[in-house]
Symmetry: C2
Subunit: 228 residues, 2 copies
């Protein structure tokens, strides 16, 4: 049931941010029919999911699913627990914006959908350079998940292997922006801010906003972000 | 934040069936404070979740969470897709009741909750003997998930390792029933049938009913299952 050539399908995890939009553009350019997958996991704001919808449409996804998954029930992260403030300066070690097991959960759900679709390629926009504090953004995590995927599934066991693609993993934010711009990504559609308002406008102060602004500056590309 | 001795916490995946009820009894007997976790994943009937609630309460769980996760959106299994009939005779290979990536998704969510709770022990009732057609019920799958868990998480990376316990993995159904009965599990509370009615009564004809009935017979223990 897997496809080759022009028929290859991929599941692309899409958050609404700059990185995953770039990944969708890369997968599309590589010739995959892209099935975009977003999670409604109790993020503090819905601007991210609105952005994901716009991006999926603008970048040629053949389908976009938003799966509700209540990780906010567990708390433990500034991104899902409103009692933990979002930091405005980078600290030491793993940030409080880390959501426990988030990428493991997202890749697992992507794997289930991929198996049903007959897709064997899953794309994720993790990046080990700018976000090195997150353990589930490292190459060894991605490799371990790929190995698990091929033990966990009917397709994998039958020798029709899954591949987890993390094309941004070794890139700087400036390189990501450069690559996406060359592929025609309109970054005005994306939102990166941890505390964006309902319209998607950004605070300009959180870690994510700082990294993004610095990325545009280093890439020498005009920053289309709207700030509130 | 991890605990030792009398304070140790565990997350126990609880489906409402015979196997996971036995696992909860085992974890409780081992002295863990058990946080039971069930998924509402679009199963065909809600009798399973009702059973899970009764079991969590009867077997001393300190808490029970039911997390909605819409795997039925993807289809692909007789357990979540009403257009695929539940088989009444075991076939060759991987059964159509296989839900793509189900145990990977469930363990990932359990991992996220465990990290927030400070629990380092996760229990799952997978069994490689009676259900050998499911790839995500094998020891190599469980080992690969444990390895992933310790690469994916803040706790794992900091050396406070997670352990995935699958105490039934090498047991026959009769051995599971024998062990649970010795621990006082009331199997009348559990439901195993793939097409149970709203009250939890079983069909007596599907693979799962057959395995269960045969298990009680081989264990020499009276079968409390209600059939419709």
């Amino acid at each position: 049931m897997s496809q080759t050539g022009a028929e290859r399908r991929a599941v692309v995890l899409l958050s609404g941010g700059l990185d995953s939009a770039t990944v969708l553009a890369i997968a599309h350019r590589q010739g995959y029919r892209c099935h975009a997958l977003s999670m409604d996991y109790g993020q503090r704001h819905s601007a991210e999911l609105e952005a994901a919808r716009r991006i999926a449409s603008a970048l040629g996804a053949v389908e976009h699913q938003v799966i509700p998954i209540s990780l906010d029930r567990f708390g433990g992260s500034a991104l899902t627990d409103s009692s933990i403030p979002v930091p405005e300066q980078a600290g030491e070690g793993i940030p409080v914006t880390y959501v426990p097991a988030r990428n493991t959960v997202f890749l697992s759900i992507a794997l289930g959908w991929a198996e049903v679709l007959g897709a064997r390629d899953i794309f994720i926009g993790v990046n080990a350079v700018d976000y090195s504090g997150y353990p589930d953004c490292r190459p060894e995590f991605v490799a371990a998940f790929e190995r698990l995927a091929n033990l966990a599934t009917k397709a994998g066991v039958e020798g029709d292997a899954f591949r987890i693609h993390a094309p941004l993993i070794e890139l700087t934010k400036a390189q990501i922006i450069g690559q996406g711009s060359a592929l025609g990504v309109d970054y005005a559609l994306t939102t990166s801010c941890y505390q964006a308002d309902a319209t998607g406008a950004a605070c300009g102060r959180c870690d994510s906003c700082r990294l993004r602004a610095e990325g545009f500056r280093q890439a020498g590309i005009a920053d289309p972000t709207r700030y509130y």
